[in-house]
């Protein structure tokens, strides 16, 4: 037992260090909180997090609010607002009925608009290779296995395609981006809808699962012949090529602001919970990018912070949509009709 003394000494040092750390963090938190009157905390979607980060300065200037957001993923955001550990949650996929019940009086408000890019890594083919929905569904179902498949050739008659094997990369965690993609595949392929359906995670028949957009990008970047998906800003940031997608009117469109905005104007009738689906818009939107999506903020209908939350959200869906916040991140201002719905819902928040 001669070591007991040193053991106690070590424990004391560790405990002191821990206390010091707590004290430092505590004072830092206190100084930050006292810097502004009100702090609004949120968590969830990583897709929308760059936009929320842009808003911090704007909402600070407008109302003096301190905005704190943790990009822990849509699933985590839903869990956080269900447990009321944050003031708002953010999710790219609309809540399911089980999630709504668990959330106990939550409101869902569309507050940003973006798109999913289908990225690939095949050095011998050019960026913006042509792709259509049924072919993409066949690839994700494992029926198309190589890059020089006749279906891909038919869409790209002038490109010489290699015989490289296709590796599908998908998300292994629950993801709003997966919801957006599978929603699209269900719209363009009856076989996909019947066998796999639309959800934040599905029973993938082929491919390699990776955690988070960064995981998928990692697999795509390191695997020749890989095809994966992520939000547009992410694909651009990682310098990955992506497909030009054929829409219902037969045009090949890219996930730029024009294509996303055109898609957004297609569904003007949100359901009772404000969920909107704007994938694969009909023919009368010739420039629409077919894999676009709204992303949602989830707030409790009754909360002590109602007045502040209302102010913040009104600001986010109006001034927060301005080009200075959204353009560089490939987000698009939400259209008027959706704004009306959003404002109506925000007005329901009370204390």
């Amino acid at each position: 037992m001669p070591k007991l003394g040193s053991l106690i000494r070590i424990s004391a040092v560790v405990a002191a260090a821990a206390l010091l750390a707590v004290a430092v963090v505590g004072t830092a938190g206190a100084s930050r909180a006292s810097h502004n009157g009100t702090t609004i905390t949120g968590a969830g979607s990583s897709f929308v997090s760059p936009l929320v980060a842009q808003w911090v300065a704007g909402i600070g200037a407008a109302y003096g609010y301190e905005l704190q957001y943790s990009p822990i993923g849509s699933g985590g955001g839903i869990a956080a607002i269900t447990g009321r550990t944050v003031d708002f949650g953010a999710s790219d996929a609309p809540l399911t009925s089980d999630q709504f019940n668990a959330c106990n009086g939550c409101l869902q408000i569309p507050w940003a608009l973006g798109a999913t890019a289908i990225m690939f890594n095949e050095p011998s083919v050019p960026n913006l290779l042509h792709m259509d929905g049924p072919t993409l569904a066949s690839i994700f179902m494992g029926q198309i296995k190589t890059w020089n498949d006749p279906a891909i050739k038919k869409l790209n008659p002038k490109v010489s395609l290699p015989s490289t094997a296709i590796t599908v990369a998908h998300r292994s965690d629950n993801s709003g981006t997966t919801y957006n993609l599978t929603d699209y595949l269900s719209h363009v392929s009856p076989a996909w809808q019947a066998q796999f359906g639309t959800a934040v995670a599905v029973n993938w028949p082929v491919g390699v699962g990776a955690k988070g957009s960064s995981g998928v990008a990692g697999v795509v970047a390191s695997t020749q012949g890989a095809i994966g998906y992520a939000d547009v800003a992410f694909a651009l940031k990682n310098h990955l090529k992506y497909f030009a997608m054929k829409n219902a009117s037969g045009f090949f469109t890219t996930p730029g602001s024009r294509g996303i905005l055109a898609a957004a104007s297609s569904d003007q009738k949100p359901d009772a919970n404000n969920a909107l689906s704007i994938v694969n818009p009909p023919k009368k939107y010739p420039v629409a990018y077919p894999i676009s999506t709204f992303t949602y903020v989830i707030v409790p209908q009754q909360t002590a912070k109602a007045a502040d939350l209302r102010k913040f959200l009104f600001w986010a869906v109006t001034k927060g949509q301005a080009g200075q916040y959204t353009a560089a991140l490939r987000f698009v201002p939400i259209p008027k009709s959706v704004l009306v719905v959003a404002e109506k819902t925000i007005a329901k928040i009370h204390s």
Partner: protein
């Protein structure tokens, strides 16, 4: 054992009055409370897990354990644990198989073979390996290890041993094989440092006696050190195995996922822990959340069975070889 010591020492200890008795009382209370707290905690965890899995338990019963399915899409829901159980067994046993000779080799090197100036730094490095967070090892697995194994190791193994179904055509990087190597790296330092301590504990008289009888160094290691440390090494392996079974984050990052059972190590797969880590946050239905907790329950039972089995094996081998357990502790 402690009671034996106490009984043996009691007559020699002089009567020192109240203060010692008070100290003994405190010791007994503190130690007893710690042991009780652990027991209560484990009990609460088990109760909570069973409670959380209740929905899935009542819907699927024991059929859940043997079904290969995981479809979380509302309206298409169907869940089963077989493929994850298979993946957990394959990855953890294989990792143990790879780590055991390596770890014992490292421990022998550090205690018997390494030049003195090398011992301390290498020991420190091995122990540092244990301190690397699993998420960092997982990240390294995605970016460096996975592609390296895919491009260099997997094709070689396939061309030489391809007739064994385990070594199929190369995959995409994330694979069961990558997960096994990552787990091996994670349990290696645990087993190596415990084995090193055990080898250091072998009495010098025994080792020198063996060498004086003219044995080679290997014969001494095999005849004296291994039997002496056998029980302890087995315990270290159980500890490492427990880590391999339960590791979730690093495995989620490198194993690739998939709901199927196949023997190709270079394909993707999934384990109980990895599935829970990947899917619990934001589970879209109550049934899915409950089924994930059911996976957790299976993981608990699985590790309990493995631990009990391992303890039984250790005890049996100790009895067979006439070694008194804990004789030197």
């Amino acid at each position: 054992m402690s009671s034996v010591d106490a009984a043996a020492e009691a007559p020699r200890r002089p009567f020192t009055g109240r203060r010692v008795r008070f100290g003994d009382l405190v010791l007994q209370l503190v130690a007893g409370a710690a042991a009780l707290a652990t027991t209560v905690l484990v009990g609460l965890i088990i109760w909570k897990v069973i409670d959380g899995a209740r929905l899935s338990l009542s819907k699927y019963g024991l059929g859940f354990v043997t079904r290969i399915a995981w479809n979380p899409v509302p309206g298409h829901e169907l869940y089963g644990a077989a493929s994850f159980l298979f993946g957990t067994a394959v990855t953890s046993f294989s990792a143990l198989l790879l780590a055991t000779p390596l770890a014992i080799g490292i421990a022998l090197f550090l205690t018997e073979l390494a030049p003195r100036p090398l011992q301390a730094p290498v020991t420190a490095l091995v122990e540092t390996l244990a301190a690397i967070p699993s998420v960092v090892i997982g990240l390294w697995g995605i970016l460096v290890l996975g592609p390296a194994l895919r491009d260099h190791v997997e094709p070689t193994l396939h061309s030489v041993l391809g007739f064994i179904p385990l070594f199929g055509p190369k995959g995409a990087g994330p694979s069961v094989f990558t997960a096994i190597v990552v787990l091996t790296i994670m349990i290696l330092p645990i087993v190596a440092s415990i084995s090193r301590e055990l080898f250091l504990g072998v009495p010098h008289e025994l080792k020198e006696g063996a060498l004086a009888l003219g044995t080679t160094r290997w014969e001494m290691v095999r005849g004296v050190m291994f039997p002496y440390a056998r029980g302890g090494i087995a315990a270290a392996l159980i500890l490492g195995f427990g880590r391999a079974i339960g590791e979730a984050i690093a495995v989620t990052q490198v194993i690739g996922g998939g709901v199927f059972i196949h023997w190709n190590l270079f394909g993707t797969g999934d384990t109980l822990g990895a599935k829970i880590a990947a899917s619990y946050q934001g589970a879209s239905t109550n049934l899915q959340a409950s089924s994930l907790i059911y996976l957790g329950l299976i993981l608990l039972v699985f590790s309990l069975i493995v631990n009990l089995a391992a303890q039984w094996v250790v005890r049996r081998s100790a009895r067979k070889h006439g070694i008194v357990r804990g004789g030197r502790a």
